[in-house]
């Protein structure tokens, strides 16, 4: 299906009417959809099945933002529909991070634009958009990252752009945005602006792939398209924004759709020359505030919009005056880049969310928390497994001495892991039990084996070094060994390990009084059963050099 794909060179003037079909080289690599072709026409990527070629409506005004070849961070389904789908991404995390703008690689990060079926969006848009018929939905560069999310919304955004309102071509558009922001914020709630956005996005993701995410880049696309038109866009945006706002408030439940619409409206608004910057929809007060205060004209256009906006800014410039135009233009650029950054981050957040199992958090902070926990658990698991792999071949009588130490250490780690990831924890519980049951020369062995123990690079945070950990392990296990018989320790140990945090704390505590531990270890060594004691004595000689 891909014929002559001019690789994502979306130069502005590059129009590829027939060979617009642009396969997504990157995307295909990861994406599953073979049918989808990304048509990259002048920037907006039109994704469709080779039939609709002609989407090229969008004027070459915006350079195909680098995004085209963006690899999709996560596998999503790309909606490949007819071309005229504007993909709008809602910038829910407008105030994502207060990092300095890192416009490092907008290009690389941007996902290829996907065209989403306009019809899908239209449905949503109808709800919101009063806009009648906007210019053809050009495939705006939709961020790939949100394949699940976008599409629909983006498309929707396109249609709403329609109604050109005669109002002043100035930045009054922002006014419309303000109105939009208000309801949005109210709906989302004060502190949930972000969460709302995220929630919406997540909802969208989960709900349906084609469901356009809150981030509808469609607006952007539209903006870009509209940008050319200039004032008219503003007007349109205003209307749409109003509609969007209404929709949002009403469709609170519809959440995503509403947000989408908003985004769309916003996008359209933004497209309007410089005026409407409020692209970010629910994103949070920050974007709203920014829009409001920062610059009337700032438009949170993303990739395309930036181009479009710039152009519109130029137009504005002429009309308004050099200084103000410059300022507005700078602000626009800044806004654009900021928005892009945010979008990129959002994309990645979504990708991360997909990777984390059983992550149903819509809030960014909690999601990051879970990501951190999961990452730690994964690291732990990998460590333990590698230890197991290394130890198993040596699991012969001579090796048993190692086991308790490792078991203790591992048990602790596993305890932690258990807390974090229940999936991993349960099966691992028997581990320390088995180890303890099989060999109990822990204390003495620990002391002896300290120097020679090939402790794997346990990254367990509290473990400062092999000796202390072993000592701790020995200490930890000592009470169990001493107080229980061969069988009991299994259960006792299990119970001890059940609480990862207690283990963790215990481990920490044990770390401190290393000296005491060591002294304690020696006397305890004598306590273990004589059989094991004998083993201990033998072990040092037996243990294989590792």
């Amino acid at each position: 299906m891909n014929h002559c794909v001019p690789d994502f060179e979306f130069d502005d003037d590059h129009s590829i009417p027939t060979s617009s079909v642009l396969n997504r080289p990157r995307k295909s690599a990861m994406a599953e959809e073979d049918v989808m072709e990304l048509l990259w026409q002048n920037g907006p990527v039109v994704l469709h099945n080779q039939n609709q070629r002609s989407l090229k409506k969008s004027q070459p005004s915006f350079p195909a933002d680098q995004s085209a070849p963006r690899e999709i961070p996560s596998s999503h389904h790309h909606q490949q529909e007819q071309q005229d789908h504007l993909f709008m991404q809602e910038d829910e995390m407008a105030s994502w991070l207060h990092y300095p703008l890192n416009d490092t690689n907008f290009d690389s990060d941007f996902c290829t634009d996907l065209l989403y079926p306009a019809p899908c969006i239209t449905s949503t848009t109808t709800t919101t958009a009063t806009a009648t018929a906007t210019p053809p939905v050009r495939a705006t560069r939709v961020r790939d990252s949100r394949p699940q999310l976008n599409t629909a919304t983006t498309v929707a955004s396109a249609p709403p752009l329609r109604p050109p309102i005669p109002p002043p071509p100035r930045r009054t558009e922002n006014f419309g945005l303000f109105a939009r922001h208000m309801p949005r914020e109210v709906a989302s709630g004060p502190s949930n602006s972000k969460s709302v956005t995220i929630r919406e996005s997540t909802v969208v993701d989960s709900s349906d792939t084609p469901a356009p995410g809150p981030d509808s880049r469609a607006s952007e696309a539209m903006r870009s398209m509209e940008g050319a038109s200039g004032v008219n866009n503003n007007n349109r945006c205003r209307n749409t924004s109003g509609a969007g706002a209404a929709a949002t408030s009403s469709g609170g439940g519809g959440g995503s759709s509403g947000a989408r619409d908003l985004t769309m409206c916003e996008m359209t608004v933004t497209s309007s020359p410089g005026g409407s910057s409020a692209s970010a929809e629910p994103p949070a007060q920050k974007p709203a505030a920014e829009d409001r205060k920062r610059k009337g004209r700032e438009t949170d256009d993303e990739y395309h919009s930036e181009d479009v906006e710039l152009e519109s800014a130029d137009a504005k410039k002429q009309s308004r005056g050099s200084t103000s135009a410059k300022r507005s233009r700078a602000a626009e650029v800044h806004n654009l880049s900021e928005r892009r950054r945010r979008d990129r981050i959002n994309e990645k957040m979504r990708a991360l969310q997909e990777l984390i199992p059983r992550c149903n958090k819509s809030d960014k902070a909690s999601m990051l928390d879970e990501a951190i926990e999961y990452l730690k658990a994964l690291q732990l698991q990998v460590q333990m497994m590698s230890v197991g792999c290394g130890v198993v071949p040596m699991m012969f009588p001579g090796v048993q001495q190692y086991m308790p130490n490792m078991g203790m250490g591992i048990g602790m780690g596993m305890g932690m892991g258990m807390g974090m990831d229940m999936g991993m924890s349960r099966p691992m519980m028997p581990f320390p039990n088995v180890l303890a049951g099989s060999a109990m020369p822990t204390p003495a062995a620990a002391a002896h084996l300290g120097p020679r123990f090939p402790m794997p690079p346990f990254h367990m945070p509290p473990v400062p070094g092999p000796d202390p950990s072993r000592v701790q392990a020995a200490n930890h296990s000592d009470p169990m060994f001493n107080s229980f018989g061969m069988q009991n320790p299994n259960q006792a140990r299990a119970s001890n390990f059940v609480d990862p945090y207690q283990q963790y704390l215990a481990l920490h505590r044990m770390q401190l009084p290393l000296q005491q531990n060591q002294s304690m270890v020696q006397p305890n060594a004598s306590k273990p059963s004589t059989s094991k004691g004998a083993e201990n004595r033998e072990n040092p000689e037996n243990h294989p050099s590792v």
Partner: protein, 91 residues
């Protein structure tokens, strides 16, 4: 400018942003490659990307290790404690 705006924007969002920044920092510490050259890149996007990549690589590693462990399991008698250990590791 942006700070001003954000300040005006909302106290809540700022708090969340701080949380997010902190979380990203934590995440950064977990990532091996970024840990060393931390000062350079503090881009959230990069951190998130690296996290995704790292998680994927960890998944692969876990699969690989599971494979190895199951192979090991087949080589030893199933009743030994080692087998039990391996089984527990493989989950």
């Amino acid at each position: 400018m942006s700070s001003r705006r954000s300040r005006q924007a909302a106290g809540v969002s700022r708090i969340s942003d701080d949380q997010i920044i902190e979380l990203v920092a934590k995440l950064r510490q977990l990532l091996p490659e970024i840990r060393d050259r931390r000062p350079q890149k503090v881009s959230a996007s990069k951190v998130l990307q690296e996290t995704c990549n790292y998680i994927r690589s960890l998944h692969r590693e876990v699969d690989d290790l599971s494979e190895r462990l199951s192979q090991l399991l087949s080589t030893i008698d199933a009743d030994s404690p080692e087998a039990a250990i391996i089984r527990s590791l493989i989950m």
